[in-house]
Structures are given as structure tokens and as C-alpha cells.
Subunit: 308 residues, 2 copies
Amino acid sequence: MADAENPFARRLRDCAQRIENLLARLLDDAPGEGEIARPPRLMAAMRHAALEGGKRLRPFLAVEAARLFGVEGEGPLRAGAAIELVHCYSLVHDDLPAMDDDDLRRGRPTVHKAFDEATAILVGDALQTLAFEVLAGEETHPDAEIRAALTLGLARSSGLGGMVGGQMLDLAAEGRYGRRDLAPDEIRTLQAMKTGAILAFSAEAGSIVAGAGAQDRARLLAYGRALGAAFQIADDILDREASAQELGKAVGKDEGRGKGTLVDALGVDGARRECDRLVGQAQDALAPFGDRSAILVEAARFTVARRN
Amino acid sequence: MADAENPFARRLRDCAQRIENLLARLLDDAPGEGEIARPPRLMAAMRHAALEGGKRLRPFLAVEAARLFGVEGEGPLRAGAAIELVHCYSLVHDDLPAMDDDDLRRGRPTVHKAFDEATAILVGDALQTLAFEVLAGEETHPDAEIRAALTLGLARSSGLGGMVGGQMLDLAAEGRYGRRDLAPDEIRTLQAMKTGAILAFSAEAGSIVAGAGAQDRARLLAYGRALGAAFQIADDILDREASAQELGKAVGKDEGRGKGTLVDALGVDGARRECDRLVGQAQDALAPFGDRSAILVEAARFTVARRN
């Protein structure tokens, strides 16, 4: 099988394995520097939340964006791992009964099902904290300016004006607080916050940790924004079309709740056209890098073509 | 009344007012740099959680510790505000039905009561993120090494090996996961994590932002650790003795749940003796600073003498 894999698929898988190893090290039971003790139950639940998880697309974007500037190794990997920790915390909290109330995640029990609700709340909290600890550590980059820029970028893309704010808008779009049926541009804003901001930052983070200049950082950010928007639309199309078995989670649930997606607003064909347009934008943003950006361009195509 | 106030009480009140103003600015509805939008419901709930709150003891420790090294102004205030944001997030999540299930906090409805559970989860998440954004911002200190040290310190003291880990141990001590009746040293570890680590870091953070050397940082940390331990014991004594009306929250609740405190383990008199011993330790740690540390020594005494 491995021989038949294209270079993109191999790199994606290799990066996921390195991220898995790094996360496993970070979530070890032994207390780290400046820590008093690590409660075994909390650690087990954090590992349940963060290990054996998904394609690790966000770290992959960070690692490949850094490689575009000739930088490899521990730094980009740690930046990617920090972003993945934030992604994982958001899934744990989104799955809670008061939020999306999901029992399964990637075919396994969600944290509050495998453990309990209180533990799941704490797991999410501690995963977020760990993300910032990882970024601030010297192993991420010897230059503290770069660590601070990463910290600032992760905070802005994942906080009240990014991911968490987007989740708040998403709950509102379900009609919980009186209103629903968003206009296409409102949906775009919601999605740019909820899922787009972190994906965009993933690509930018690679350029930051590689020490790229402002213009190149802006290019990676533009690429990441287009990819992020395409990702969410592809997800919504997938949700509309895929079977429960393929995904390992309840399908059509978002639709049943009357949540606004661009598939609702533009139809499947219209949404697909927007996806294709966004992949083109992602590609254009990287044009100045020529062939060196081939893997990242492929990542954008993969994002819209994936089946899970 | 103001004339009758001692210098300590006046400084504590002035610092709380400056923190209140800074937090109100940080939690404004207008999107900041790198943000897409700020959902009004989320912002209102975040303000409910973070404004008009308490004595602001943690920021006070940071501000006064920095002043010990001759540093005042925006930097120590922002470091203190970041710590306060983490403290506020922890209260919001601790109050949730799945955790301590509290309806009142300082006599006002808790966030999940005033808004709803989903909003309260997001509020806690976003307050934590904002704390790290504040620390990483250039306004906190021009030297990124200092910002990174603050970020690392806040993460370590509040995460899985500190505050969140301590909350996990506390839930276990309630007997949720089979076990209770901790030995005194287990209670000390739990409390050093749950409330002590952040209080200790508050004092240390002031020395960090003031650019103090390693030996002076260690002194402030030792002071903060002793103060933090005394704070929690005083809290447990208060909980045992005070009336519901004085505190604005249900009293004796912890006791009813059979949670282990040093008051249970050592009796009220034994706990008071430990408190006094710890205040002495806090004072000793600052002895090299002579009279300049009088306000911080008074803060340690205040901590054990307070009635709410």
C-alpha cells in the first residue's frame, strides 16, 4: 500500500505520526517543570481527547508552511502540536451535553461519555493551557519574539474574536437565542471564525516559526483563509451527503437543527462552486513560491476532496 | 471613610479599580486586532463573569511585587489582569452544574444561570484565551523574553499540573471517583495546586515583569506559596464559620459533601496555627527587602484575617 501512496499522502501520514508522538510525550503522567503533580484521571482523559486523532491537518499546514521557507524540525512541530491541542480542546467542549451533545467522536465515545462531564470540562481547559505552555517554551524557538508572535496569533484566532466567538454565533444560528436563517455573508463570517481562523493561523504559524517576513506571512495567511473557508463548506457538503457509517457520527444532525450552512443558502452545486473558487484563491496566494508550494496546494485540494 | 483607611486598604482598592478599568477595556464589544467579530452575547456574558468582581487579590500581588523592584504602570497591571482572567474563567467553569453546581457567586447569578450553560462554557474558554493574549501583547513588556516567561508561568500554574489538576483532585476528594478522606499532606498538595499555584505565580509574576533576577524571583515565589496555602486554609475556616448571608453563597456546602480540608484534618485551632505559621513564612521570605515589603506582608496578614 505504502508504495502506491503519493508524496502528499505520505507526508500527511508521517507528520500525523510525529505529532502523535509529541502529544504523547506532552501528556505523560510525570509532572513537568514547575508542576506539582499530574492527576492520573485527568491525564488519561486528556490522552483520550488528544491521541489517536484524525489527520492532524492543522499541524500539517504549519509544518509544510515552515518547510516552504526551508525550516524543519522541532519548532514547526511544536507550533503545530499547540494548534492541535486547541483544536482538540474545542472538540471536547463542543461535544458536551450543553453544547452539541455528541456521544461519539471518530467512532469512539466522547470524553464526557468515556469519563464524565466534569472531567471533560477540565480536560478542555487543561488542553488549552498546555497549548500556550508549548508555544512559550524555548524548544519552540530560541527567539522569544517569535514565541510571543505565535502565542498572540493562536490566542487571536482561537478566542472571543475567532474560534470561540464562532461557536457562540453557531449556537445562535441553531435558534437557541431567538434567531436563525443567516444570510450567506453571515454564514461566511461565522465559519471564518469557528473553523477558518485556526486553519488560517496554522499556515501562518509555519511562516512565523520559520522567521518569514511580513509579506510572506500575509501570503500564507491568505492561503490558509481560503483553505479554511473551503474546508468548512466541504464539511457541510459531506455532512449532507455522507452516510452515518462512513463518518462515525450522526449525519444530517446539523441540518435537522436548522443550522445555517452555505449548502442551505447556495445549494450543493453552488457550495461546490464556492469551494472550487476558494481552492483557486489558495493556490493563487502561493503562486510567488512556484513549485515549492505544490504540497500546500495539494493540501487545499485534499481538503475539499476528502470523504471524512 | 476614606481618611480612616490604612495605606494597605487604599492601595488594594485603587488597584482593584485600575484592574476593573483595564478588564472593561479588554472586554469591549469592538473587535481588536486580528479579530473578525465579537458576538454581543458572548461579550456580555464575559463582562458578567469578569467585571465588578471581588478584591482582585491576585493582580494586587503582581502589582505590589513589581513595585517592590521600583516598577509600576501598564506592565504589572496587564500581568495582573491576565491572572485575574484565568481566575475568573476557573470560577465560571467551577460553578457549572456538572462541577460545583452553584447558582450564586458574590451574591449575583452565576454565568450559566444569568445566561445558559453553553454560553458559560464558552465564556470560560474565551477568558482563558484572552489571558494569554494579554500576556503576549507588547504593551505588557517590550522584552519578549519577559512576556514568554510570564506566559510559561501562567500556563504551568493554571494547567494540568496546577489549578486545573487541583480541581480534578478536588472532585475526586468529594468521593465522585470512589475515594475521599485525604491525609493532611494530600490536602496540602491539592490546595497548593487548586488555589496556591496561581496565588504564588501572582507574586512571582510581579517580579518577572519587573525584570528581577532569579534569586529575587524565588523569594517572591516562596512568599506567594506561603500566602496561597494560608489563603485556602483561611477560606476553609471561613466556610466552616461564616453565615450564608455574610458570604453571599451557600455555606457548609463543601463540608456537606465530605470534601477534605485541613479544618477537617487538623480542627479549627490546628488550621489556625498552620495559617499563622504560613504567614510567618511569607514574611520571612521577604525579609531581605526590609521595610519595602511591608505592604506585601500586610497582604499576607489580610489574607488570613478577611471575613469574605
